[in-house]
């Protein structure tokens, strides 16, 4: 049954889905009403056709620029740099941040062949009033951005990416900050892992 095999093979390519799960999903879909399956197919088709990176910040969106970049009530003097679009959701859910974003689309990882050229850095510098790495042209509104908050993951790669960004941004006279590391709120010290506690100790604050 090549059609069933095709679908199974496609599903098995998704992250976290192995051959067995792919088979189960396939047979599950085959048992559902055809309408429901079409709805899924349409949803997949529409995201593939209509969702694109925002030309300003790189966030995934159906409109250009994205709803965040186009929102006049957001603070245009702050840019928070994240690795992936999905990170924006996490920060937005806090309701604590009112600035803009910039999505890198990954992090530096020489072992995987990911260097600065593979990241969405080209459009970041013009936003800060710096020269475009490629064209040398200056774009955006220079001097508007006061602070860049680097919110890459606290992994070795995320840290290296943050340091690299800092080197790029600081010469432009823009303040660069990094998210703090420490204990999860509402957690028990007893259950926090050793590395996190060590980080929290190193970053302790005066009371």
């Amino acid at each position: 049954m090549p059609l069933i095999d095709d679908l199974t093979a496609e599903l098995a390519r998704l992250p976290g889905i192995g051959r067995k799960t792919a088979l189960r999903l396939t047979y599950h879909l085959l048992k559902r009403p055809a309408d429901e399956v079409r709805r899924l197919a349409r949803a997949l088709e529409s995201v593939a056709e209509r969702v694109r990176p925002c030309t300003v910040c790189g966030n995934l969106t159906e409109q250009q620029p994205c709803a965040l970049c186009g929102n006049p009530r957001r603070d245009p003097t702050l840019i928070c740099v994240v690795e992936e679009s999905s990170d924006i959701g996490a920060i937005e859910r806090t309701g604590e941040y009112r600035g803009l974003y910039h999505v890198l689309g990954g992090r530096l990882s020489p072992l995987e062949g990911i260097g600065p050229d593979e990241l969405n850095l080209r459009s970041l510098l013009p936003r800060l009033g710096g020269a475009d790495a490629g064209t040398g042209a200056t774009a955006g509104a220079p001097g508007v951005i006061r602070e860049v908050i680097v919110a890459t993951n606290p992994s070795v790669e995320g840290e290296a990416t943050a340091v690299y960004l800092q080197q790029l941004v600081r010469p432009l006279g823009v303040r660069v900050t990094r998210l703090a590391r420490g204990l999860p709120v509402g957690g028990d010290l007893e259950y926090a892992d050793g590395v996190t506690i060590a980080e929290a100790l190193a970053g302790r604050r005066e009371l």
């Binding site: 530096l108 020489p110 072992l111 260097g115 290296a160 340091v163 690299y164 892992d193």
Partner: protein, 379 residues
């Protein structure tokens, strides 16, 4: 007066399809046991299984696949223990297919494998330990890494971060990346590398006296010493992690040009060594190059005793000592003095192996003697 620390111990061991053991269920006496058997009967395999539950890999450096009994799909090992950090049961299963390893401590999988390391508190003495002294610096780094990972909180995560940053930095150096990119990777390298170096330096300073004392006792008056030999100059002094990171930064700057030519990181903890020196005719000589076979074996045993000391100090319990035919190739005088030293200093559970009964006088011969034959233990 200090209260004598309690002892770590293996109480029960269950093996399934591990090396030449199809099924093995043992109840181990608190004081320990002497296991006698011919070559190939499984003596070392048994100690390998016990210590596997401490570090979740073979102390002989064998890949997990090779620990599976011939023709089987996987192995399982479980021990009921009085663990040095409160563990009462440690278990591990390995499946050849998918090379999956499942570890559990007290019935639950640890959050990270690193959390389960050293749950028992044990030291292996093996004839192959001579490579610690006679072998390459990599052998001594491996020794340091295992001792510190098991006994210094934060060492293993720092080492893992260092290695990860190092691999990335080497990839950059190979491709001739820009200085700005290299600099981006440097901070992670310095921060983790500084911690690794500071912990190695501190351990070597603490362990040095114990090493010299034991070496002298075994060799009757010959003196030897142990010192951290970092690839970064001055990092062997007692420094904190931030100072060590600064020293590493300076050392990297000095070799920057050569690194670009060679395409590889030339200084750092990955190039460290542990110097083992014997004092003779007014000068220190490297035991690796100038030590006799007996001196090298003596130094290896002294190092293992220092490892036991580290466990005792870090976890407040007597470690289990696993002695694998250690007296092979040592002259009778040295063997006797090592036994005396072990009697004095290692009151914990002792599990030892030998090919013949006469070799076993640990605990003044009070340990029960078991025979091992073709993967079966006859108590």
């Amino acid at each position: 007066m200090t209260v004598a620390p309690t002892s770590a111990a293996f109480r029960e061991l269950r093996l399934r399809q591990f090396r030449n053991f199809a099924e093995l269920d043992l109840r181990l006496p608190p004081a320990g046991v002497a296991i006698i058997g011919d070559n190939g009967a499984g003596k070392t395999n048994l100690l390998e299984a016990l210590y596997y539950l401490e570090i979740f890999r073979s102390f002989r450096g064998a890949p997990d696949e090779r620990l599976v009994r011939f023709g089987e799909d996987g192995f399982f090992a479980r021990a009921a223990v009085d663990g040095a950090s409160g563990a009462s049961e440690v278990a591990v299963g390995f499946e050849r297919r998918g090379r999956r390893k499942r570890v559990s401590v007290n019935g639950a999988p640890p959050e990270r494998l690193g959390d389960a390391l050293g749950s028992v508190g044990a030291v292996v003495f093996s004839p192959s330990d001579v490579a610690l002294v006679a072998g390459s610096p990599a052998e001594r780094r491996r020794f340091l890494d295992i001792v510190l990972s098991l006994n210094r909180p934060g060492y293993l995560p720092a080492l893992q971060r260092y290695r990860h940053a190092l691999r990335n930095r080497n990839a950059l150096l190979r491709t001739g990346a820009s200085p700005a990119l290299l600099l981006a990777w440097e901070s992670g390298l310095l921060e983790s590398g500084g911690r690794v170096m500071a912990m190695r330096a501190e351990w070597a300073l603490l362990a040095g006296a114990g090493f010299s004392r034991r070496y002298e006792a075994i060799s009757q008056g010959q003196s030897a010493r142990l010192a951290y030999a970092p690839s970064v100059p001055q990092a062997g002094e007692l420094v904190d992690a931030a100072q060590a990171a600064e020293l590493l930064r300076g050392a990297l700057a000095r070799v920057a040009v050569r690194e670009r030519d060679r395409g590889v990181t030339l200084v750092g903890p990955h190039r460290d060594d542990l110097a083992l020196l014997v004092h003779r005719a007014g000068e220190d000589r490297d035991l690796r190059d100038y030590g006799s076979g007996g001196q090298q074996r003596t130094a290896a045993i002294a190092l293992r005793m220092v490892e036991a000391e580290t466990i005792r100090q870090a976890r407040g319990r007597e470690p289990v000592v696993l002695l694998d035919d250690v007296f092979a190739e040592l002259d009778p005088g040295r063997s006797r003095r090592i036994l005396e030293l072990l009697e004095e200093e290692e009151p914990g559970q002792a599990i030892l192996t030998a090919p013949k009964q006469s070799d076993l006088e640990v605990r003044r011969g009070s340990l029960p003697h078991w025979r091992i034959e073709d993967g079966k233990v006859l108590a």
